[in-house]
Amino acid sequence: MQSLDTTDIVTPQRMRFDMPLRLKSGAVLEGYDLVYETYGKLNAARSNAVLVCHALSGSHHLSGRYADDPKSMGWWHNMIGPGKSIDTRRFFVVGVNNLGGCHGSTGPASINPATGRHYGQDFPVITVEDWVQAQARLADHLGIDQFAAIAGGSLGGMQALQWTLDFPDRVRHALVIAAAAKLTAQNIAFNDVARQAILTDPDFHNGDYYLHGVIPRRGLRLARMLGHITYLSDDAMATKFGRELRNGALAFGFGVEFEIESYLRYQGDKFSDQFDANTYLLMTKALDYFDPAYLHDGNLSAALRAARAKFLVLSFTTDWRFSPERSRAIVKALLDNKLDVSYAEITSSHGHDSFLMEDCHYHKLMRAYMGSIAL
C-alpha cells in the first residue's frame, strides 16, 4: 500500500549564478545553475547548517522522496532525516548536485548558451576545489556563513576535507568517511579503464553523442560494472552470490550464467539509463586529480596546516578501494597539526559501499558525533 505520510516529501530547488567561475584548469564557466535540496530549518543564529557532499554517482537528493514518485528515496535516506543520525529536526541539511553533474546542475548535457548546443566535449574538466568554490557560493546565497558540519563519503569526503583548507573559517566539523587524501595508482588505473570503456564506445562521438541521438550505453555500462566490483568486497560478493548459477546448470555458452554476472549487468543497465557518460568521465577525473599534498611536496601534514575544523574520520575494514590505511594517513596529518580528530575503523563486510549501508554501529557513531556538535 502506498504510504500516505507526506512529511518526507522534498522538492529540489535551483539557483542561477551569473558570476563567472574560474576553474582550477584555467577555464571559466560564465554562468551556471546549481540544483539543491534542503531538509529541516536554518535556525535564527544560522548555526545549524550541514552540507552533505555527494560521491561519484550521487546527487543533491539526499533524503526523503518526491511527491510524484514514492520510490524516489534519497541516496542517504538511512542517515539523514527527522530523528536519524543526521537529524533534520536539529540540523538544516543541504545537498547540492555538483557542477558537471547530470541531475540538474550545469553539466555536459546542459545547453551551452554560447553555442545553443549541449556542452558535450566542451564542458571543462572540474576539480574538487571547483566544486567547493561553487558550493560556497550557494552557501552565500542561502545565508550560511559557517557550516556546523560538512560531511561526505568517498569523493564526498574529499570535498569535506577540501572545504577545511579553502574555507577554514566556514566549517566547524568535517566528517570524512571512506575517503582518501589522494588516489593510489591502482585507483587511477580502475578509473582509466572505466573511462576507456566510455571513450572507445562507437556511440561516444567524442562526447557529442547528444547531437547524434545516442548514448554510449555499452561503455557506461562497462564502467559501472567495473566500478561496482571495486565498491564491494570479495567476502560480500562471495556471501551474496558465491558461484550460484541462474538456471542451476552450466550452459556452455557466453550468456548470463552466474548470479554475479546477472547482478553486475543489471546494475550496469540501470546506471546507463540514468547517468550521463560525460559526467562519469568528469567525476573520475576529479577523483584522480584530488591531491591537496601535491603543492606541498607530497607532505599531507603541511597541506592540512590551513585547516581549523574538528574532524571525524571513518573507514571500513573491508574497503579496499579507499582502505583504512588511507584514512589513517589523514588522521596522522590532522594529529600533526594538533587538530581535534576522532577516528573509527568500522567492521563491515560491504567494502567501499559500506558508507551507504545501514549498519547499527556506524549509524550510532554518526549519531553520537553529530549530537556532540554544539549549535
Binding site: R328, V331, K332, L335, D336, K338, D340, V341, S342, Y343, A344, E345, T347, H361, K364, L365, A368, Y369, G371, S372
Partner: protein, 208 residues
C-alpha cells in the same frame, strides 16, 4: 582493559577511579595529553574539566569508541599493541596509561613508545603485592578482589606486577621515576606501600 563506569559528576569520577585525582594533580593546565586505552573517555573528560587539557584517547573497543563520541572526547581507534605510529615523537606533554599496563602484551614496547611521543609518562596499575593478594596466594588461590575482579581463566590482566617490579622495570628500561602515589581507596598509603597499597600511580620521564 579499563572498567566501564557510568559517571555523573566530577566527584564520582574521583571516587570510582582514585588514580584520576592523582593523575590530574600532576598534569599542568592547558597541556596536551594522550590517554592510551582510554576506555569511555572519562579520564579525558575529567582532565578537560579539571585541567583544560587538549586530549586524545587511543582505544580499540567499538563500544568504548562510541562512549568517547558520546562524551565528546577525541579518540583514535587503534591497537596500541601495534605501536603509536600515528603520533609524532615529542608531540605530547603527557602520555597516560591508566589501569591498562597490567593488561598489555608488549609492555616494554609500549613504555618505549610512550616515552617517544612524550617526555613524561603516567601509569597506574593494581598492586599485585597488596597484602590481601599475598594472603590469597598463601592460601593457594589466585587473588580476586575489587582491584583485580577476575578469575584466573578470564582475566585480561596478563602482566600483573608489584610496586617493586615496576620500579625495577623502569630502572632497566630508561625510565626515571619522578613521582609515585600509592592508594588504598581514596586514601594515600605512605607506610609499607608495596604491602598496603591497592593501586599505584607513577609519573616518569625519559632518562637522558
Amino acid at each position: 582493559m579499563p572498567i566501564d563506569h557510568k559517571i555523573d559528576t566530577m566527584t564520582s569520577f574521583a571516587r570510582i577511579r582514585p588514580d584520576f585525582a592523582a593523575i590530574a594533580s600532576w598534569i599542568r593546565p592547558g597541556t596536551k595529553v594522550l590517554d592510551l586505552g582510554c576506555g569511555d573517555g572519562s579520564l579525558l573528560c575529567f582532565l578537560r574539566n579539571m585541567r583544560q587539557v587538549h586530549g586524545y584517547g587511543v582505544e580499540i573497543d567499538d563500544e568504548n569508541i562510541l562512549a568517547c563520541f558520546n562524551n565528546g572526547v577525541n579518540v583514535i581507534q587503534s591497537d596500541l599493541e601495534a605501536g603509536l605510529q600515528s603520533f609524532e615523537s615529542d608531540s605530547f606533554d603527557y602520555v597516560v596509561l591508566s589501569q591498562t599496563l597490567q593488561a598489555v602484551r608488549h609492555t616494554k614496547e609500549i613504555i618505549r613508545e610512550m616515552l617517544r611521543v612524550s617526555r613524561e609518562g603516567i601509569v597506574s596499575f593494581p598492586n599485585f603485592g597488596y597484602w590481601k593478594n599475598r594472603l590469597q596466594i598463601m592460601a593457594g588461590r589466585m587473588p580476586v578482589s575489587e582491584a583485580l575482579p577476575y578469575q584466573w581463566y578470564d582475566t585480561p590482566n596478563i602482566h600483573n606486577c608489584t610496586l617493586g617490579d615496576f620500579e625495577a622495570f623502569c630502572g632497566q628500561h630508561s625510565a626515571r621515576i619522578l613521582e609515585r602515589r600509592v592508594m588504598s581507596g581514596e586514601r594515600q598509603v605512605a607506610f609499607l606501600p608495596n604491602l598496603l597499597g591497592v593501586l599505584a600511580v607513577y609519573r616518569f620521564e625519559r632518562r637522558r
